[in-house]
């Protein structure tokens, strides 16, 4: 008889996490927990102003501080050809300043000392003099005539534009917009700068062994293999002599994909000193200098038929890229996958342009819990859909429904191929659970009593699991992932994946995939990841890609192993392979189902009793190049009440319906959604990293860039619909980012809806009570970048 898959921890089991055992005992292994013999500590000195030439830099007192071993400046880095480094978008970025400071918080110098207290003392002893330059803090200023050229280091750069990009059918789009029978709706929205801010900041220990020439890098990174290759190329070190170990990550959310300047200097320092060098970033350093996300200005026009059907969209996006264009994104796409916008709606024509701008702000453009600018496109999409519904006088749920894609596969306006989905079913379930029509009645009644209730809907499908290698690469490295499976003689297995967990529970769920394919109990499978010497090459964890790529590779390698096990089974059962059938965990003779051998029997035979001509052992590997993205569909609906006197607002109820295809571990899927939705709520509610006119970063600490607590965060009530991905081996679509991508619009839409009768169409995030109040009182849209007094 077949095994009970749920009981052995296979697909669909809400298996408790194996990772927890160490974390709940305080035995996690984060970078700062490692202590290597002879280890030194590095601290980084940062620029206090946003745009300035350095006129003098005196490190002599730092050198004289007892306990200091090394002070690295831009000049010294240049001597080692490391003053500049390439970015993920084929730009260059200063490692340490050699010419001028381009953003507040930029790295000036690094000090290596016996302990971090001494390194801080020595940083304080460095004196730097600056000759300030006019700061540029937004694209409008960057484009102004006579604006200083921020990237005057680049030959031929005569303005502050860092890229332009377009996609779509300009001619036909313009033709549709010329149709006088269509109603044109337009809107401008700003997605403010945000930061992934995992609670653990960036960190490295670089350990260079001068005897062996081996460089071991302990790094809190989501992409250890890419980092190894990048270090090999930038530092011109032999790749096989570099080992990157990414132990437990205290969160990542995209912030731990890039290479940061202090990493480069820590590596240089450990090579120069031939001692391990540890650098632990502080929170302000993390928020002020490491990769930001978003900061995009959006303009959209839609041409809409009387029945609500959108006929064409015209989009322009301006991005604020900071001092260096270092966005993490596929090489082909200058604004990531932003053009997945309106993907779940069947819109005949569209044309989109985008332009990037250098400013005196920290560089970045990481995909913060998002597949490369998708979070931005989905906020804009769903905010704009609500505005369109208001303007054409249609119910906002109905308006979405009229435009939904219903037949799959479907080629979107901007060229993506949707794989599957049942959007109506998801929306209907969501509307039912929030009692949509009942709420609309209550909203009407409440308004007549002076109370302000609002309901916001966000429906979206996003492409996950970048890539396929035809279209997607990062600095030339194609986007796929990998798995290696080794079944030991006693039937216990080790799975090694190219991806890496940042808290999602890979050690738990990836075993479940093997269990599903082979019937080996999940508890008998150890999952390893995050060590380049011991795992196959993979692109890492981001873009909700682990399950779509490494998860698929895990299924595929399990099938390869099963195919070999079948040969062993035939040998053990003394029948031909054609006569052997498989059920979970067991091969049996087709004509005599009681005659069978388990997968464990086959594993033992692979080492003890293999047939002639069959290679011993039971192991294999797989590299999985996805044929397409996977397309989950999500419906988020929330109701809020706004205080008419103060603009403060509270979430009354939140409903989520997610179709992420097959759920490997429902408990973990739901928890991923909780986390993403909390981040969405944070951005909509209070999280803010803004800049004053001098380029001072306001929000470079947890006092101002706020993580919501258990008190503010609402409860999230979740439901599921399952349409398996037709091309993923086990039908999964990915889930990690959906809540963060689709959630923000639901909250903002609800707040705007509460005061829409006053004529309000937009409040840029975060919807602080002051902004809501101003929108109510001035009955106009409140822009997200209020002019701030200079310091």
């Amino acid at each position: 008889m077949a095994l009970d898959e749920i009981q052995i921890g296979g697909l669909g089991a809400s298996r408790k996490r194996v990772e927890d055992a160490r974390f709940i005992r305080g035995k996690g292994n984060y970078i700062d927990d490692f202590k290597l013999p002879g280890m030194l500590h590095m601290e980084t000195l940062r620029a206090p102003i946003a745009h300035a030439r350095i006129t003098s830099l005196d490190t002599s007192k730092a050198w004289m501080t007892p306990g200091v071993h090394l002070v690295v400046t831009g000049e010294m880095a240049a001597q080692h050809n490391l003053a500049w480094m390439p970015t993920l978008s084929y730009d260059t970025q200063a490692v340490l300043v050699t010419d001028k400071v381009r953003f507040q918080g930029q790295e000036i110098a690094c000090v290596v000392a016996d302990d971090p207290y001494i390194a801080k003392d020595a940083c304080e002893a460095i004196t730097v003099e600056y000759d300030p330059l006019p700061p540029i803090v937004n694209p409008q200023q960057a484009l102004a005539p006579g604006a200083p050229i921020i990237r005057d280091d680049k030959a031929g750069q005569t303005n502050n534009i860092c890229y332009t990009w377009e996609v779509g059918d300009k001619e036909n789009t313009e033709r549709v917009f010329a149709d006088p029978n269509l109603q044109i709706v337009s809107q401008d929205i700003y997605y403010p700068r945000t930061h992934a801010c995992p609670i653990e900041c960036n960190a490295i220990i670089s350990d260079y062994n001068s005897a062996t020439g081996k460089l071991t890098i302990y790094l809190t990174t989501q992409a250890p293999h890419i980092i190894r290759t990048a270090v090999a190329l930038v530092a011109e070190l032999p790749e096989h002599m570099i080992r990157v170990i990414a132990p437990d990550l205290g969160g990542g959310f995209g912030n731990k994909v890039p290479v940061y300047p202090s990493y480069v200097i820590a590596i240089l320092a450990s090579i120069l000193l031939t001692r391990p060098v540890k650098w632990i970033e502080d929170k302000t350093g993390n928020l002020i200098s490491s990769s930001f996300a978003r900061d995009i200005y959006f303009h959209c026009d839609a041409a809409i038929r009387k029945d609500g059907k959108i006929q064409a969209v015209r989009i322009h996006a301006d991005t604020d890229n900071g001092g260096f264009f270092s966005d993490a994104q596929p090489t082909k796409f200058k604004i990531g996958l932003f053009h997945s916008i309106f993907g779940c709606y069947d819109i005949p024509y569209g044309y989109m342009t985008a332009q990037g701008h250098y400013t005196n702000k920290a560089p970045g453009g990481v995909a913060y819990r998002c597949s490369f600018r998708i979070t931005e496109s989905m906020l804009f999409q769903e905010r704009f859909m609500q505005t369109c519904a208001y303007e054409i006088g249609m119910d906002q749920a109905e308006f979405r429904r009229v435009n939904f894609v219903r037949e799959f596969p479907h080629r979107t306006t901007f060229g993506f191929l949707l794989d599957s989905g049942d959007y109506d079913k998801c929306l209907d379930l969501g509307l039912e659970k929030i009692d949509y029509y009942g709420f609309l009645e209550r909203q009407k009644q409440a308004r007549s009593q002076g109370r302000l209730l609002g309901i916001g809907i966000s429906t979206m499908s996003e492409p996950l699991g970048a890539g396929n290698s035809r279209e997607y690469d990062i600095i030339g490295i194609k986007m796929f992932d990998s798995a290696e499976l080794r079944v030991h003689p006693s039937g216990k297995a080790v799975l090694k994946i190219g991806s890496k967990t940042q808290g999602q529970g890979h050690e738990t769920t990836f075993a479940q995939i093997v269990t599903h394919e082979l019937g080996i109990p999940a508890d008998d499978i150890l999952v390893q990841h995050g060590d380049t010497d011991n795992t196959p090459f993979g692109m890492g964890t981001y873009a909700s890609r682990s399950t779509p790529t490494a998860g698929a590779a895990t299924a595929m390698v399990s099938r390869k192993v099963r195919a070999k096990a079948k040969k062993l089974a035939a040998h053990l059962l003394e029948v031909s392979e054609e006569d052997v059938e498989w059920e979970l965990g067991r091969f049996y003779v087709r004509s005599a189902p009681n005659r069978g051998v388990t997968i464990q029997d086959c594993a033992f035979a692979a080492y003890t009793n293999m047939p002639d001509g069959l290679e011993p052992g039971l192991e294999n590997n797989a590299y999985y190049d996805p044929p397409n993205m996977t397309w989950p569909f999500d419906v988020y609906i929330t109701t809020v009440e706004v205080d008419p006197d103060t603009g403060e607002w509270d979430v009354l109820k939140f409903i989520g319906v997610d179709d992420c295809g097959v759920r490997i571990n429902p408990m973990i899927v739901e928890a991923q959604l909780h986390g993403g939705l909390a981040e969405a709520f944070a951005m909509a509610y209070h999280q803010m990293i803004t800049f004053d006119s001098q380029g001072n970063c306001i929000g470079a600490n947890y006092m101002d860039y706020m993580i919501p607590t258990a008190w503010e965060t609402p409860h999230f009530e979740l439901y599921e619909v399952v349409t398996p991905s037709p091309h993923h081996p086990i039908g999964c679509k990915g889930i990690g980012e959906c809540g963060c991508v689709g959630g923000p619009a639901a909250f903002v839409n609800a707040v705007v809806d509460a005061i829409a009768h006053l004529g309000v169409r937009n409040i840029d995030m975060p919807c602080l009570s002051s902004r809501v109040w101003e929108a109510m009182h001035y009955k106009h849209d409140v822009p997200g970048t209020p002019p701030l007094p200079g310091t």
Binding site: K120, M703, T709, W711, P789
Partner: protein
């Protein structure tokens, strides 16, 4: 309370160091010993009580005192008691204890309303009322509460004891009128009030106030015998609204007096536009909250 970075630019503008500079450490066992130490070290020393403001400042190296006189080992300074017509709160009474004190609640409901909005539950476990007043952060909540209630700070030194009314104690942002050898050992609040509410707009638990308004009243037979109104976050320092208080003192609470008080408080405020909200918003919120509190006190339902 944490670092004084209302604008956020303080920490952003300087290179942050989360390790304090070196200092000399003293841990006196008695208050007399502590006073002698302060008399010796004077300006070079800082008194450490809850540390929830001072230690963050030292980590960021905004403060680098040569000597720390840690008074946490002094027995008997953690009292919350009623004596001589005063509610007396010792220098080591933690906010945690104030939140939980029935005595505080029965004497001055405003204090019990304000205390849970101060920082977060874990910080309240260590932070103190007296330390918060000494820190004189213009965003600090306790000074406003003390202003509403006519509170005083008791300072001790080798020269003896003196009592400083709160309005004379706080002299500006991060400055107080303690002499360099004095230690604030007690906050005392006279009498009792039978109504009090602290309204605070904060973006999250632990945030400083965008606007906060404290109102405390003693109402007997419809007549207001005590009225204290003070504001946080809308002026260079905590602000006691004398005009607003006068508008309701001695009379009854009605729509007319309530409006007059709300407008007077709003007029007294001098908020700054910043990333938390505009000047106009903050000023209006002062009015909204004074009105709400007084209406609630009068049992008037919102229109």
């Amino acid at each position: 309370m944490a670092a004084p970075n209302r604008s956020g630019t303080l920490t952003a503008a300087k290179e942050v160091r989360l390790y304090p500079s070196r200092f000399h450490y003293e841990a006196p066992r008695t208050i007399d010993e502590a006073c002698q130490m302060m008399a010796y070290y004077r300006d070079d020393a800082k008194v450490l009580s809850g540390g929830m403001s001072l230690i963050p400042l030292m980590k960021l190296r905004f403060a680098s005192p040569g000597t720390i006189v840690d008074i946490n080992n002094i027995e008997g300074l953690d009292y919350i008691e009623e004596a001589g017509g005063y509610l007396r709160i010792g220098a080591l009474a933690r906010n945690r204890a104030i939140v939980r004190s029935d005595l505080v609640r029965s004497r001055h409901p405003l204090m019990s309303s304000a205390c849970p909005t101060i920082s977060d539950p874990v910080v309240r476990n260590r932070g103190t009322l007296v330390g918060n007043c000494c820190h004189s952060d213009p965003q600090g909540d306790w000074v406003s509460v003390m202003m509403c209630l006519g509170g005083e700070i008791v300072a001790r030194s080798v020269d003896g004891e003196r009592v400083i009314p709160i309005e004379q104690f706080t002299t500006g942002p991060f400055s107080n009128s303690l002499q360099s050898h004095e230690i604030a050992v007690e906050a005392r609040i006279p009498g009792s009030t039978n109504y009090g509410e602290y309204h605070k707009i904060e973006r999250k638990v632990g945030d400083f106030a965008t606007v906060a308004v404290g109102v405390a009243l003693n109402i007997a037979g419809g007549s207001v015998s005590h009225c204290g109104i003070a504001l946080t976050g809308v002026a260079p320092s905590n602000l006691k609204c004398y005009d607003a208080e006068r508008a309701v003192m001695g009379g009854t609470l009605n729509e007319g007096t309530i409006e007059a008080a709300a407008r007077a408080a709003s007029a007294a405020a001098s908020p700054r536009s910043d990333h938390r909200g505009s000047e106009e918003y903050k000023r209006t919120m002062v009015e909204v909250f004074v009105r709400r509190s007084l209406r609630a006190a009068a049992g008037i339902r919102a229109a």
